[in-house]
């Protein structure tokens, strides 16, 4: 189980020596991920979802807050042991082209971490070889056709499968998939998404799926939760079905509205709207709701007060809006 407790991340930079401006990537995010659970983090580019994933994978530090693995806070782990500790969380990167070393065979890329694991478990070289084949089969790649190849011999979809296999070499408990399908043809995306859900069910691995594509988020976390992030804050959180069926935060509704409608099979939801303004990542911090300037329903109160994350109707659904209201923005199936 992983707990993220009020994590904040501030980047220093921009401006000259005197006007050092801090950019807040995360503003106190808290989350709990149970073993074997799937959670989708959704939001547009620059909302902080990638930063959060990288922090959980130990690839980035945080400024405030605490990360707790199975009840042990990271701050109580000696710094020397931390890398070891983070092995249980493996990141599947967005770019399957950059994630593999072009100068080495795929076999080597898989066997290297396996050798470490073999040493750790007291296994021999035969185990390493068999395990490599087993993992490739698991992700739907033919071992004999893969092991002796170089990354450039594989298509984007095959590479991403391979990256997943490599992440599995260290027996992780959590996979963080950061936009793992956005660089792959739409036709092949579902294959990767179903691989992720399949691994979760078969191996009991938790999956943190980071995306801007709500339909993909729904597919991976269909029996899990969706967490909507806007400018470093959670603005809505709940069971996937609830979030998709009755989103209450205008930002969630904007994300859902933006999804293409498969005309012919679906028609636009009655409340669908197209948000026009882009996210201004350079925007200054302001009092009140951060989404206010793009929100169609903002009132004078939204400019004055900051809405905190609260439970909806006392349930486990959370939202950060003064005027939560479910709207039908999701496409409606026809005939």
């Amino acid at each position: 189980m992983i707990e993220v407790r009020a994590i904040e991340k501030v980047y220093r930079g921009g401006g000259g020596l005197l006007s050092q401006r801090a950019v807040k990537a995360l503003r106190g995010v808290s989350l709990t991920l149970k073993d074997g659970e799937a959670i989708s983090l959704i939001g547009e580019s620059g909302c902080g979802k990638t930063t959060l994933g990288r922090i959980i994978a130990g690839l980035e530090t945080y400024s405030q807050g605490e990360l707790v693995f199975d009840g042990t806070p990271l701050s109580q782990v000696p710094p020397g042991d931390r890398p070891q500790w983070f092995h249980r969380v493996q990141l599947v990167q967005q770019d399957p082209y950059g994630a593999l070393n072009p100068a080495r065979t795929l076999g080597n890329a898989l066997v290297d971490p396996l050798k470490l694991q073999a040493k750790h478990l007291g296994k021999d070289a035969t185990w390493t070889r068999e395990r490599a084949r087993e993992l490739l089969n698991l992700v739907g790649l033919d071992p004999e056709a893969t092991l002796y190849k170089y990354p450039h011999n594989l298509s984007g979809g095959q590479r991403q499968r391979f990256v997943v296999a490599r992440a599995l070499t260290v027996d992780p408990k959590v996979l963080v998939a950061d936009e793992a399908v956005s660089m792959i043809d739409v036709s092949l995306r579902l294959g990767i998404l179903s691989l992720l859900s399949d691994l979760r069910v078969r191996l009991g691995i938790s999956v943190i799926f980071i995306t801007h594509d709500v339909a993909a988020a729904r597919y991976v976390a269909r029996d899990g939760v969706i967490c909507v992030i806007y400018r470093g804050e959670i603005v809505e959180y709940g069971r996937t079905d609830d979030i998709i069926r009755s989103p209450v935060h205008p930002y969630t509704q904007a994300l859902l509205s933006a999804m293409p409608v498969l005309r012919g099979l679906e028609k636009p939801g009655p409340d669908r709207f197209i948000p026009s303004q882009d996210l201004d990542t350079q925007a200054q911090d302001e009092a009140g709701c951060l989404f206010r300037s793009r929100c169609r329903f903002a009132t004078e109160r939204c400019g004055r007060e900051h809405p905190n994350l609260v439970a909806l109707d006392g349930g486990e659904r959370l939202h950060a809006c003064f005027y939560p209201q479910a709207r039908d923005v999701v496409p409606v199936p026809v005939g």
Partner: protein
């Protein structure tokens, strides 16, 4: 609905509603002294004032088709056979390089993927627009700049800021809109959009699609949309052409194609889209990979390697074009089931 086999349409004088006619287009690439076909015998009509989408996976030949439509296939590729004829320009496949240069960017304009950085990183956007105007001998380059500013305002961009910016100062969504401004500013007759929203997040994508849609409607602009994303097709296109391994396997009006796909590939493609409605576990991944250029079968059906309905005849005979009766829905498949919804 039943189906009848039809002869492929003959090249003739262009009808009023056809802006561009492609007949028998074959593009080959020379690899290791072998001529490999990236496009094979492609017939296509691009309707005047409509958005025609070409959908295909990586390696389907869709980008090659975009280049061939401008006769811009470069070595080691070449147009080995076929004609591309525009109603207003004539046959681009028979033009000399100077006439082509004038046509491209002016009458035919192409918008590239934002991530491909088609802007010069060292020059401001406004200066590049002026260069574009001059290279097409516009009498009043300033007017082009004014037109660009007007387009920018249409796209809810700050025109002054955008025109004085360098590429790196723009976000992905802004860059794509600037790309579209470049595509539209000289008032082309045909606009080609190559993966206009790939690499954008959903919010940027939906606003870019909205912009394209409204400007296209307003100007009745003939548009060709090249993409791998059925969602983008569904949002924008009037007609869809499905390309697989260099061949057109199905062609229909968009809603008809999505509602009643005929070809097994199109069916699989639509089933493989994660959706917001319906039972997510009903979505089926499309198995396998599209063949590489060297592995495209030269006889028989190109899709048979991944087809759940493959038969013996698929190995030996290239499927002809069938037409769904009384519609302009065409597909190329031997399987009898393809005739039914």
């Amino acid at each position: 609905m039943g189906s009848v086999a039809v002869e492929p349409a003959q090249a003739s004088a262009l009808d009023r509603d056809v802006a561009c006619r492609v007949r028998g287009l074959t593009v080959t690439y020379k690899v290791d002294n072998r001529e490999l076909s990236a496009l094979r015998d492609v017939d296509l009509d691009i309707r005047q004032g409509q958005i025609t989408a070409v959908i295909g996976e990586s390696g389907s030949g869709k980008s090659t088709l975009a280049l061939a439509l401008m006769n811009a296939v470069s070595k080691p590729g070449r147009i080995a056979a076929g004609k591309v004829t525009y109603r207003d320009l004539g046959e681009v496949t028979a033009m000399d390089s100077e006439r082509l240069r004038r046509a491209r960017g002016r009458s035919l304009s192409m918008v590239f993927q934002a991530s491909q950085n088609s802007l010069n990183p060292l020059t401001r956007v406004g200066a590049q627009l002026l260069d574009l105007a001059r290279s097409h001998d516009m009498r009043d380059p300033r007017a082009v700049l004014r037109e660009a500013a007007a387009l920018a305002e249409r796209m809810s961009l700050d025109a002054d800021r955008v025109l004085t910016s360098y590429q790196h100062q723009l976000s992905g969504g802004m860059r794509q809109r600037v790309g579209i401004i470049f595509g539209l500013v000289l008032k082309p007759q045909v606009l080609l959009l190559d993966e206009p929203t790939t690499a954008l997040d959903v919010l940027s994508q939906s606003s870019v699609l909205e912009i394209v849609r409204s400007i296209q409607r307003e100007r009745q602009l003939t548009t060709v949309l090249i993409t791998h994303d059925m969602g983008v097709v569904a949002e924008l296109a009037d007609r869809v052409v499905v390309l697989y391994a260099g061949r057109v396997v199905e062609e229909a009006p968009t809603t008809e194609l999505i509602r009643h796909p005929r070809h097994p590939y199109t069916r699989a493609l639509i089933q493989a889209i994660p959706r917001l409605t319906g039972d997510p576990s009903l979505a089926r991944p499309l198995e396998g990979q599209p063949p590489s250029l060297a592995a495209i079968p030269t006889t028989g059906c190109v899709f048979r390697g991944r087809c759940p309905h493959r038969m013996e005849v698929c190995e030996t005979s290239t499927p002809g074009i069938s037409q769904v009766s009384d519609t302009d829905h065409r597909y190329a498949c031997h399987w009898e089931g393809a005739a039914n919804d």
